[in-house]
């Protein structure tokens, strides 16, 4: 799998509901190259968020392999795997959710500072990143004192500031109005291209999905 940052092979995951096995991810195989962007689309409940959780080790598959930067993970949930996934999330994988990406007790800049600290980066360029994402003037405000769009920009600044190789974004503009969503998406793609990190974007927004290099439709997959 050389030349790929993320490789997923025959991934399977099912939930058990009322005694019935309900498959969520069914024999899924795909890969993402460094710097590439991939949109994961599908109807509600098709497993977009679950897939992103699997890709950063927050959930464990029933079967299959996930390889990140040539390091393979199966369905083992032993302490070593858990610790390794945590290290990858700290240093290589940036995760952005639809909302609540920031610690409410910390200012925007302190949130970025905390995230980069955990990533082991000490460049002290937090304000620069907030500036770059258009919320530099809000750096010292708290998350509940800025708009939803500004909070999402700060969350993106936080992720980019840690210099990740892979960004997993789960409906990052889902809670924003169209105009703000477009602005946030534009910032996301621009900086992603600039930094050269890969992006896996889960969305039900076809316009947003179209901005990505490739589209993976979970409704059709498997």
């Amino acid at each position: 799998m050389s030349g790929t940052l993320l490789a997923v092979e025959r991934l399977n995951l099912a939930f058990v509901s009322a005694g019935q096995r309900v498959p969520v991810i069914n024999n899924l195989t795909f890969s993402v190259a460094p710097g590439e962007s991939l949109a994961v689309v599908g109807r509600s409940g098709s497993g977009k968020s679950t897939l992103l959780n699997l890709l950063c080790g927050l959930q464990t598959p029933d079967d299959g392999v996930i390889a990140i930067d040539n390091e393979s993970f199966g369905n083992a949930s032993d302490a070593v795997s858990i610790a390794r996934w945590a290290e990858l999330r700290r240093q290589l994988i940036g995760v952005v959710f639809q909302q609540a990406n920031l610690m409410p007790a910390l200012s925007l800049v302190d949130n970025v500072r905390l995230r980069t600290h955990l990533a082991g980066r000490h460049k002290q360029d937090e304000r620069w990143w907030l500036q770059r994402l258009g919320v530099g003037d809000q750096a010292d405000r708290y998350p509940d004192r800025v708009s939803g769009g500004q909070a999402q920009r700060a969350a993106l600044a936080m992720v980019f500031a840690m210099s990740p190789s892979l960004i997993l974004a789960d409906e990052p503009t889902g809670s924003l109005d169209r105009h703000t969503a477009d602005e946030v998406a534009e910032s996301l793609f621009n900086v992603q291209v600039e930094t050269g990190c890969a992006l896996v974007l889960a969305t039900h927004d076809s316009e947003l999905a179209a901005c990505c290099g490739r589209v993976l439709d979970l409704s059709a997959a498997g």
Binding site: I82, N101, A105, L118
Partner: protein, 750 residues
């Protein structure tokens, strides 16, 4: 359907409902326990006063105690008089009073007992039975009482207002005031706690109320449902609390009886707890409804008013005014008022102060970028938010810890001081009472002749009239107990005196006197003060050379050398305190028995007396200790609930730490650090308040209430113990949260 939607929050969070119920039950239990005990004390004291009210007793003008021959003489001259024999038994049996119903016939309606059925020993019994009880070794005192204080008496007799003991009304009132203040503190703390738990639930339900409003449900209807819900909760929670409180009061009743007995020489008359205390129920229902419904009358912003700038200013002013009041007050009630103001001020100041300290820590941890730890900064900021949002339970816990600290310091100091005092009072191995008609002087000579005997002294007890010369000749003399010693040996010369002249014991032998602290405080007597003493009709002038501690009884007492006593003095009782030295107890007993021609002497072993006295005083403060400990438990449970509920609302952010790459054990560590620091900080904040409260109890309330003071001792080991308990509570919360984090692996986004 609407009610179901309305209650859906509790379906989802049954623990919150259980917590609120638990708070109501515990608070009712505590309040009921305290009020039942206070009411019982009040009615017992009232009964005591009623028993002795509006009567007089007859004394001999020559100062000698009255006896049977006086009774006969008075009855022969047509005076209505009846014997009244008090036998002082300790609790739980308590004091009994022997009366003769036949001789009380002339008392008419003012007779303390109206029929023979009342002679059941609670407290009255037939005088013959009481005499038998007194012969079991209890102190007794015979009075001749008269129905009125305006009757004519033959020469040689005088009427005195009848009081069973020195004036105890003020002391008893002070004791009840202490209990009332403790009750109010308990009510304040429980009110704060119930309000905080209820309010937290309400804040979390705001969104669902908003949704109901959007669906067309009028706010008025929502409020009606909230009131209904609260009424149901109160109706379900208060009755078990009442029952538990009544049981608690019953369990503590014995100790309380001993407290009254030992502190005030008053008997806690037997009284049934009877039915459930409905008055306490009404207060509790009113409290719950008031503190909870206050929300609708004065809706509060999410950030409690306690952290506003005005509140801080007001808090500072209250603190200052209260502290000044406590220092300058000369009456107990004002000391309590000042203390209440200080508590209010501290309550207003503590949450913003702690929040500011954490804020400062967070700034400091970010200022030095090279060593900056953003996680530390995050924790400091989280704590700052928590101190603001959990202001009410934080303050409640702080008050409870402070009360526990102060009560512990007071009680422990009292115990150790009392132990020391008992040690000096009961320094001899045993004491032997001189029997009726026994010649103590001959016995003393024979003891002197005994080879190998240790040190000993003879103590004669009686009464004296005391008037400080500075009070002027017009002032009423005070009746004090008299204790005359001879010879002065190391049984007394090692006493630790509160204050003394140089060589006080030598001065005593030269005719000076010592007084107990009670007398000194009540009559502003100091070392060097001149005193006028009247003993057996002989007036003498002397001066005070020492003041000694005398805990437990409010009676004034004068100590002098037996050589100072006038010849006319007849002691009420005499005893020898003896260290046996190389001899056995039997040898000494036999020598004295032979001297007096009485084969069976009353010998009391001081070690057993000491043990009995220690047991009584251990019980004395059981009540205050139990109440303060229960208040602490209540506050700790409330804080536990509040921190847990608060953390539950932050679960997502702990989950976010995991998303950012912290491993499970690292996230749990953050949780532990946060919760333990929170509980420890509250304990630390309670410390100055606890020390101050100790000072108030020891130096202000105790002297005003009881007439004696204690040294101001602090107990850092107990602080450490409380700190450990607080740390354990923090760890418990962290453990509960860990389970919550594991159960809800995906977390709930806010």
């Amino acid at each position: 359907m609407l009610i179901r939607a309305f209650l859906s929050h509790y379906q989802r969070h049954p623990f919150q409902l259980a917590a609120l119920m638990l708070m109501i039950v515990l608070a009712t239990m505590l309040w009921t326990g305290v009020t039942v005990l206070t009411d019982q004390a009040r009615s017992s004291l009232a009964q005591s006063e009623e028993t002795v009210a509006a009567r007089a007793h007859i004394v001999r003008t020559d100062g000698q105690p009255v006896g049977v021959e006086d009774f006969v003489r008075l009855r022969k001259t047509g005076v209505c008089v009846a014997p009244w024999l008090e036998v002082k038994r300790p609790a739980p049996e308590g004091q009994v009073i022997g009366v003769d119903p036949m001789s009380m016939a002339c008392f008419g309606r003012s007779a303390p007992i109206q029929d023979a059925a009342s002679l059941d020993g609670m407290p009255f019994m037939d005088i013959g039975d009481a005499l038998r009880v007194s012969q079991e070794g209890y102190d007794s005192q015979l009075y001749l009482i008269a129905p009125r204080d305006d009757i004519e008496l033959p020469q040689g007799y005088a009427l005195r207002a009848f009081s069973l003991a020195p004036p105890t009304g003020e002391l008893a009132d002070s004791f009840l005031l202490n209990l009332d203040a403790l009750s109010l503190l308990v009510l304040l703390i429980t009110g704060l706690l119930i309000r905080s738990v209820y309010r937290l639930g309400l804040v979390q339900r705001e969104a669902s109320f908003e949704l109901l409003y959007r669906f067309g449900v009028l706010p008025r209807r929502i409020r009606q449902l909230l009131v209904l819900e609260l009424v149901v909760l109160t109706a379900v929670g208060v009755p078990p609390g009442l029952w538990l409180g009544a049981s608690l009061a019953e369990a503590l009743g014995t100790g309380f009886g001993q407290a009254l007995g030992s502190l005030f020489d008053l008997t806690l008359y037997a009284e049934s707890f009877g039915s459930l205390p409905w008055r306490a129920a009404v207060v509790m229902v009113a409290l719950v409804l008031t503190v909870c419904l206050l929300e609708w009358v004065f809706p509060q912003p999410r950030q409690p008013a306690m952290v506003s700038a005005y509140a801080r200013l007001g808090g500072g002013a209250l603190l200052l005014a209260g502290a000044l009041g406590v220092v300058l007050a000369t009456e107990l009630v004002w000391v309590f008022a000042g203390t209440a103001l200080v508590f209010a001020g501290v309550g207003l100041l503590t949450p913003p102060l702690l929040a500011a300290v954490e804020e400062r820590r967070s700034v400091r941890s970010g200022a030095t970028a090279s060593v900056a730890d953003p996680l530390r900064r995050w924790r400091a900021r989280e704590l700052s938010v928590m101190f603001r949002q959990l202001a009410l339970p934080v303050v409640a816990l702080q008050f409870s810890i402070a009360a526990v600290l102060a009560v512990h310091a007071l009680v422990t100091t009292f115990e150790s001081t009392f132990e020391q005092w008992l040690g000096q009072r009961l320094a001899a191995d045993f004491y032997i009472e001189v029997p009726q008609g026994g010649d103590s002087a001959t016995a003393a000579r024979r003891l002197n002749a005994l080879e190998g005997l240790g040190t000993w002294h003879l103590v004669a007890h009686g009464k004296a009239q005391v008037r400080p010369e500075e009070a002027g000749t017009g002032a009423d003399p005070l009746t004090a107990d008299l204790m005359a010693l001879t010879p002065i040996t190391d049984l007394v010369s090692d006493w630790a005196l509160l204050s003394s002249a140089e060589r006080p014991w030598r001065e005593l032998a030269s005719g000076a006197v010592m007084v107990n602290e009670q007398l000194a405080r009540r009559h502003d007597v100091e070392v060097g003060s001149p005193l006028e003493l009247t003993i057996a009709g002989t007036r003498m002038r002397t001066n005070v050379v020492g003041i000694y501690a005398d805990y437990g009884r409010p009676v004034a007492e004068v100590l002098l050398h037996a050589d100072t006593l006038p010849a006319a003095f007849t002691p009420r009782s005499e005893s020898f305190s003896v260290n046996k030295g190389e001899l056995s107890r039997d040898v000494i007993h036999d020598r004295l028995a032979d001297t007096w021609g009485a084969p069976d002497l009353q010998v009391r072993d001081n070690a057993s007396i000491r043990e009995l006295a220690s047991q009584i005083f251990d019980q004395t403060f059981l009540l205050t200790r139990a109440i303060s400990a229960l208040t602490l438990v209540l506050a700790a449970v409330a804080l536990l609930i509040m921190i847990w509920v608060f953390f539950t609302t932050r679960v997502w952010y702990f989950r976010l730490l995991g998303v950012w790459g912290l491993q499970g054990h690292q996230v749990r560590r953050q949780l532990r650090l946060l919760s333990v620091r929170l509980t420890l900080t509250i304990t630390a904040a309670a410390l100055p308040l606890g020390i101050w409260l100790t000072w108030v109890l020891v130096n202000r309330i105790n002297p005003l209430a009881f007439g004696w003071s204690l040294p101001m001792d602090l107990y850092p080991v107990f602080w450490l113990e409380l700190g450990l308990m607080a740390g354990a509570a923090g760890l418990l919360v962290a453990h509960l949260m860990r389970r919550q984090l594991e159960r809800d692996a995906n977390g709930e986004r806010p």
